[in-house]
């Protein structure tokens, strides 16, 4: 039996090539997904700037909602109390403590924001002086990578104000992000709010782990050792949730797509070899033996593919992770961990998927009756089983249900739940394929085809009768169209919706952006520019409402908007935004209703740096549906951000160009209203990347599956073409028939794919923008249509030529299969 399996493999290499490629790709991508999962769980980011200190004490980087479910990264840096530093220094077993304060700084002339510190914290890296000496007041030591030389007089912008300093020394360390060191006294003056981190050095003979156990730390402060210290140095790696979600969704879709491609390919192969398998049965093979043969053949190929995939798993993982870090989704200092577990998991999952898919196809093979070896006409029965119809209907209806229910969800949930609609729709098409193809041959369509002459007639007949074979070509095209178009347009729609929600709510004719912050003095300067009718600072952050406890925004914090002027467009239902000063807040009316508070109530807000502030509600202001924010005075909010100062200023003016020309601020860029949305990170980073990656996979899989199935299906009809040519068709007429058949299938696949994608995208459009029109470039759709045609037509042409190369008589007498 095994020998039989291998002999058939050797002779049908083409048919099995698709399975090989699909499994290789699938398992490599699963390894990558597994690596992402492991990385997300471990979150190892070896520290660089804090590498010298064995223990690092810092504020807890993650917010734990009081009801205990999960954790979310704090958007802002927390401070460590100075008293804690003294207490740590006095603890037994501690040899030395070095506190570190960080503040954003920009060397004048460069666009990058780097870290400013006191010289004392240079020892934490450790930075070594390679020239000059430690800085005194008015001096700095720069990282060698920055450029300025010993003795240069440079300007460093801190807190919006340029500091004129002399380079007293140049230092170097093994860090990616450079720093500039001020004298400790200067640093304390520039960043009065306190320390961010404390490096603790244990006394000789005391192990860091032991010392950590002994340290008494207040709530909200934790000690880290080893590679966990990275949490203190880099932002954005506090929680693993985004990576874990991504690896799950990604891995899941890869598995499903792989299963569909493999099953379509094996299904086609079994159908083609029907006569051969029937002959095997007539020669004495029991159904079980036939089943075993099909399983062995496919598993043999699958295992080779799996091995190849595992070998490329590291490459795939590095590539995908590289894309994520390269685009800022995760910090580049996060180490990509891909130990043996992801590979083992990928191997297991691939094997299980493969084995299950093969079992179904092998079941069909085993049911072949010996009498079918004698059937001259190789046309299968056209009736679809009842079970199959029901299952297909379930998937189709399920797709509709998902589509409808997504329309009523919040934007975030809509994105997560809506995606699968494309997938379930494609599965429905896969199951109901022959029925779909036959129903598509309505009189309009057939009339159109038949106008093309005899080739058209034959094409219609072939499509109807061989609907089952053509399903194998229809499925990959539909699936890929649904995934590619669905994901891309879902992303573009959401991006647009988020940006619109952000910008449509604010009046702004001129926007001033300063990464290092805008001081109150600079704000006044801008406000008093001629032509400016109104001005406001703009601070953005995230936070939670803890008193009374708001369960609606826990893992997904409330967006906070800090304002200091009349630039908010949303309707104010109660109270007035003019009162938004001091410790006050404005809520959306729906939220106020749910929390049973109103104008005059007091709330407890947990801000982005873990501080709990009490604020009074002074207004109920509406925001865009699904994207509401809490409004706070900019002075209050800015004080609790990492930079400490507002990063943007919005100005209203009659003649914006005049103001743009007149406005000038060191280190800042001035632009018109369009700048407001331009730099906006819609916060969809990870989701967008899943979307685009999946679109890429979809294209790759369509290419493999459709080329393979078209080639195999056409070559199988060699005898038929020979007969056709003997009865009077020219090669060209046969080719015309093939083009027509495959064009119909391609068009049908595109239409169905677009429909399935629409089931995912339109509800998202409704949920996020309010009406069922997605946004995104129409070129994507046109480009996709071009890709599909480019795959289908040339493949048809090439395989048709191959199939008709022998003389018609020889083609007739060749053994089938």
């Amino acid at each position: 039996m095994i020998r039989l399996a291998f002999s058939s493999l050797r002779h049908r290499a083409a048919a099995f090539l698709a399975i090989l490629v699909a499994v290789t790709l699938g398992s490599a991508l699963l390894c990558a997904a597994g690596g992402l999962l492991e990385t997300g769980l471990r979150l190892n980011a070896p520290p660089q700037r804090l590498a010298a200190a064995p223990i690092v004490v810092t504020g807890d980087p993650a917010y734990h909602p009081p009801n205990g479910s999960g954790s979310v990264a704090f958007p802002e840096r927390q401070r460590v109390d100075a008293a804690l530093v003294t207490k740590l220094a006095g603890t037994a077993g501690v040899a030395q403590v070095i506190p570190d304060r960080s503040f954003p700084a920009m060397v004048a002339g460069s666009k990058d924001v780097i870290g400013g510190h006191g010289w004392g914290s240079a020892a934490l890296a450790p930075y070594q002086l390679i020239a000059g000496h430690a800085p005194t007041s008015g001096e700095v030591v720069v990282d060698a990578k920055l450029g300025p030389q010993l003795g240069d007089r440079i300007s460093v912008i801190v807190n919006g104000a340029p500091q004129a300093v002399t380079v007293a020394g140049v230092a170097a360390a093994k860090v990616d992000l450079p720093s500039v060191f001020f004298a400790d006294a200067d640093a304390a003056r520039l960043a009065p709010r306190g320390f961010d981190t404390v490096g603790v050095f244990p006394a000789p003979g005391v192990s860091p782990r032991e010392l950590v156990r002994r340290l008494e730390l207040p709530d909200g402060v934790a000690a880290y050792i080893g590679d966990d210290r990275g949490v203190a140095e880099y932002t954005g790696i506090a929680t693993s949730l985004p990576l874990i979600i991504m690896s799950g969704v990604f891995g899941g879709m890869v598995a499903v797509v792989m299963a569909l491609v493999v099953s379509a390919t094996i299904g086609l192969s079994v159908r083609q070899r029907r006569r051969e398998l029937a002959l095997l049965r007539a020669s004495g093979a029991t159904p079980r033996q036939v089943r075993r043969m099909v399983v062995t053949e496919t598993m043999a190929v699958g295992v080779i593919g799996l091995a190849l995939g595992l070998l490329s798993g590291r490459v795939a993982g590095d590539w995908i992770f590289g894309m994520l870090t390269g685009n800022g989704i995760v910090p580049s200092q996060l180490r990509f961990d891909q130990g043996p577990l992801p590979f083992a998991g990928a191997a297991l999952l691939t094997f299980v998927v493969l084995r299950t898919t093969v079992s179904f196809a092998a079941g069909r093979a085993a049911r072949i009756r010996p009498i079918q070896a004698l059937a001259e006409a190789a046309v299968p029965a056209g009736v679809m089983g009842r079970t199959r119809l029901i299952v297909g209907a379930v998937f189709a209806i399920g797709t509709g249900c998902i589509a409808v229910s997504t329309m009523f969800m919040s934007p975030v949930n809509a994105a997560a739940i809506g995606g699968p609609a494309g997938l379930t729709g494609s599965i429905a098409v896969a199951i109901l394929g022959p029925l779909v193809i036959r129903s598509a041959l309505v009189p309009r369509v057939t009339a159109l085809l038949e106008k093309r002459g005899p080739s058209g007639f034959l094409a219609v007949i072939n499509l109807r009768v061989r609907a089952a074979q053509f399903t194998a070509i229809l499925v990959p095209i539909t699936l890929a169209s649904a995934i590619a178009l669905g994901n891309i347009y879902a992303q573009t729609t959401q991006q647009k919706a988020a940006v619109e929600a952000y910008t449509d709510n604010l009046f702004a004719d001129v926007v001033v952006t300063s990464p290092a912050g805008v001081t109150p003095g600079q704000f006044e300067e801008l406000r008093s520019l001629p032509g400016v009718t109104a001005a406001s600072e703009l601070v953005r952050s995230k936070g939670w409402i803890e008193e009374p406890y708001d369960a609606s925004h826990t893992s997904d914090p409330w967006p906070l908007l800090g304002l200091s002027g009349p630039v908010y467009k949303g309707k104010v239902r109660e109270g007035s935004l003019d009162d938004l000063t001091g410790s006050t807040v404005a809520l959306p009316p729906d939220a106020a209703r749910k929390l049973k508070v109103g104008v005059g109530s007091e709330l407890g807000l947990r801000l982005g740096d873990n501080a709990l502030v009490k604020v009074k509600v002074v207004a109920l202001a509406e925001g865009p549906d699904g994207y509401e924010s809490l409004l706070l005075p900019s002075a209050l909010l800015a004080a609790h951000t990492t930079t400490g100062l507002p990063a943007q200023v919005l100005l209203r003016a009659e003649h914006p160009d005049q103001v743009i020309a007149a406005a000038e601020l060191p280190g800042a860029t001035v632009g018109g209203r369009d700048v407001l949305g331009a730099g906006y990170d819609a916060g969809l980073g990870i989701d967008a990347w899943i979307g685009y990656l999946l679109a890429g996979i979809a294209i790759a899989y369509t290419a493999i599956a459709s080329i393979n199935t078209i080639a195999v299906a056409v070559l199988d009809r060699r005898r038929e073409f020979g007969l056709q040519r003997l009865t009077g068709s020219t090669r060209r007429q046969v080719k015309a028939m093939l083009y027509l058949e495959h064009l119909v299938i391609a068009a049908l696949g595109l239409v169905l794919g677009v429909l399935a994608a629409a089931c995912a995208v339109l509800p998202i459009a409704v949920a996020t923008r309010g009406w069922p029109i997605p946004s995104g470039s129409p070129w994507v759709l046109l480009g996709w249509i071009a890709v599909v045609l480019l795959l289908v037509l040339p493949t048809t042409a090439v395989t048709a030529r191959l199939a008709m190369r022998p003389q018609p008589m020889d083609a007739l007498s060749s053994p089938i299969g």
Binding site: R12, L279, A282, S283, G284, A285, P287, I371, P815, I816
Partner: protein, 247 residues
């Protein structure tokens, strides 16, 4: 003598309603052990269908079939296959061979599937006697139609099963090889005691058999023993004219 193959009131109807075709209309016959029987009749008389039902390849609509004393009624596919594997060899009219296997591998295929080890000497002899000794390692695509047919016959003989069914085995062969194959078959039944049932339209081939059964419109109409080519031809002509008259 026992009947190696016994058919009892076997009916086979294809399709339903007005478009249905009755291929076999109540056939009762026993093919005795060790006999070489030729089944003949005009085209459309149900010869191939009779063979398929008798061999257990197709299930009759009604009636009973017994092979080597066992009833085929109610057997599932696996049991049916095992019964056939152990006792029956079949030579089809066309498409007999696995395209991916060599001549030798095709010949021993049923034995391989049954898990039995082939008698090498006998296999080689059989292949020689059908005239393909120099083509043992070739694949079907490298053989002519007639050569492919000879491989199928060799396969049936190599298995040395109790019963062999052959559907027009000499149809594609030249006269010399045809006669060689027919003597082979006759030897098998006389010397080895195999039961051979052969469908043919060739009176010369029929003359090698012990008896000839004539089938018209799905019914057995007559039988001859010790046939000669001339007597068989005469009877066939008579039948053809008769079937034209019958409704």
């Amino acid at each position: 003598m026992n009947a190696a193959v016994q058919l009892t009131e076997v009916r086979k109807v294809y399709g339903t309603g007005p478009g249905s075709v009755t291929a076999l209309d109540g056939v009762t016959y026993g093919f005795a052990e060790g006999t070489f029987t030729a089944v003949m009749g005009p085209s459309g008389s149900g010869k191939s269908t009779l063979l398929h039902c008798a061999a257990g390849l197709d299930a009759p609509t009604s009636g009973d079939v017994h092979l080597v004393g066992r009833s085929l009624r109610g057997l599932n596919e696996t049991a049916l296959t095992e019964l056939r594997r152990d006792h029956v060899a079949f030579v089809f009219q066309s498409f007999n061979l696995m395209p991916t296997l060599t001549v030798r591998q095709n010949v021993v295929l049923p034995l391989t599937l049954a898990g039995k080890s082939p008698d090498r000497a006998w296999v080689s002899e059989v292949i020689q006697r059908v005239g393909l000794g120099d083509r043992i390692r070739h694949r079907p695509s490298e053989l002519s139609g007639g050569q492919q047919q000879r491989v199928a016959i060799a396969r049936a003989l190599a298995a040395r099963t109790a019963i062999t069914f052959a559907d027009e085995p000499t149809g594609a062969l030249d006269t010399v090889t045809a006669l060689e194959v027919l003597s082979l078959l006759r030897d098998q039944s006389r010397a080895q005691g195999q039961t051979i049932v052969m469908v043919t339209h060739d009176p010369v081939a029929a003359s090698y058999a012990d008896r000839v059964v004539f089938l018209v419109d799905g019914r057995i109409v007559s039988e001859t023993t010790r046939p000669t080519a001339e007597s068989v031809a005469a009877q066939l002509a008579q039948l053809s004219s008769r079937s034209k008259v019958s409704p």
